[in-house]
Symmetry: C3
């Protein structure tokens, strides 16, 4: 069965576990980052949240802010790209690729997504963000191609 | 292989399967809940949907509504937190933790997320929703820590 | 362990791998589709992106557009439905269902979601999109029922 010993015996699975956890943690850190921007800029999505920054609720604080929306779009882009990577990556890791090839895929993806977040939140000039996005997409497509060419059964 | 018999032999995997399914179902129920609010409040996102509540399309019904947006934000927060839990939880369950520790993680997470949804949809005063959110985040971080400390291979 | 040979020996797992990859790829294609609409309609979410279509940044191009928002809602609906399918589908495939039953679930889901996207992006009259959505939801619920009735451990 897929037990601890079998995972520890497979370097590909171990590296998949490591990188999947890292990119998911990176994605989850967008939530506290959004909260940080909301609290420092006093911009809230719910009336009951406005009390967090002051002593009473305040309807004027329920509004949108360009910086908060920027972090939220970055978070949304993570959801749209990191979740497919994690799913396709597991199937890919189970097709027994070479360790060096697997590590190359995982490392490029992790680097591309971290760069994408920096480029998004700091609003670096294009096409820096676009390149990070495309690189992540290509890694996932490359893994999906190997999965489909290995196990295809329609 | 990871077959039915091997899953049934591992109480940790069985409890993971159970709680992962429960929280995913909870998340999926947000879709019908959104539809319910949309139909009862007559608030639609698409022009072609307005015909669902009446005999002809009506442009005025394509608008936003605070209650519908509240349910949608709750759904979005589920996506941002339940998906990471499901991914990290599978890797965690495969690191062969103690059954009692695994159940503690899974139960606290499921409870925290159900409480989070109730607090969000009913607009309970803060920090009730924030506590549900933080509790879920901490459970996932705790599982991620165990995964990384067990299988790390960069 | 869950190795390539054990996956290749199980037609249910092979068909799950195939359909999970297909629906995830379908979901990922919504990103380039959004970019295509943004570039052809000159509608951007970030100030730094407006330079992609012209020689200088232009604040007026940072706006929303009904067609772009339609594609984005379709993408969001995919996230809310395809991710649960992929998770529940893996657990379902591991409960050793009949191959014919598994293929029936996977094929209906993939067809329903592709139809849903076409109905959404082309704005087909309701209830075509609603039917595609409901069908996908029912397939996932049916698989979740089998998972819970097989391995339940609370």
């Amino acid at each position: 069965m897929l037990s601890l010993s079998s995972v520890m015996d497979s370097p590909v699975l171990r590296s998949y576990f490591t990188y999947a956890t890292i990119v998911i943690l990176k994605m989850m850190l967008m939530s506290p980052l959004t909260s940080y921007f909301r609290l420092t800029r006093k911009v809230f999505a719910n009336l009951e949240d406005t009390k967090l920054g002051s002593s009473s609720t305040d309807k004027k604080l329920v509004r949108t802010d360009p910086d908060v929306e920027r972090v939220r779009r970055s978070h949304q882009n993570d959801l749209e790209n990191i979740v497919p990577f994690v799913v396709i990556g597991l199937l890919y890791a189970l097709t027994a690729p070479e360790l060096s090839a697997a590590l190359l895929h995982f490392r490029i993806f992790a680097g591309a997504r971290i760069f994408h977040t920096v480029a998004y939140v700091c609003a670096l000039p294009q096409p820096s963000r676009g390149l990070g996005f495309m690189l992540g997409l290509l890694v996932t497509f490359s893994m999906a191609y190997r999965v489909l060419s290995t196990v295809l059964l329609l």
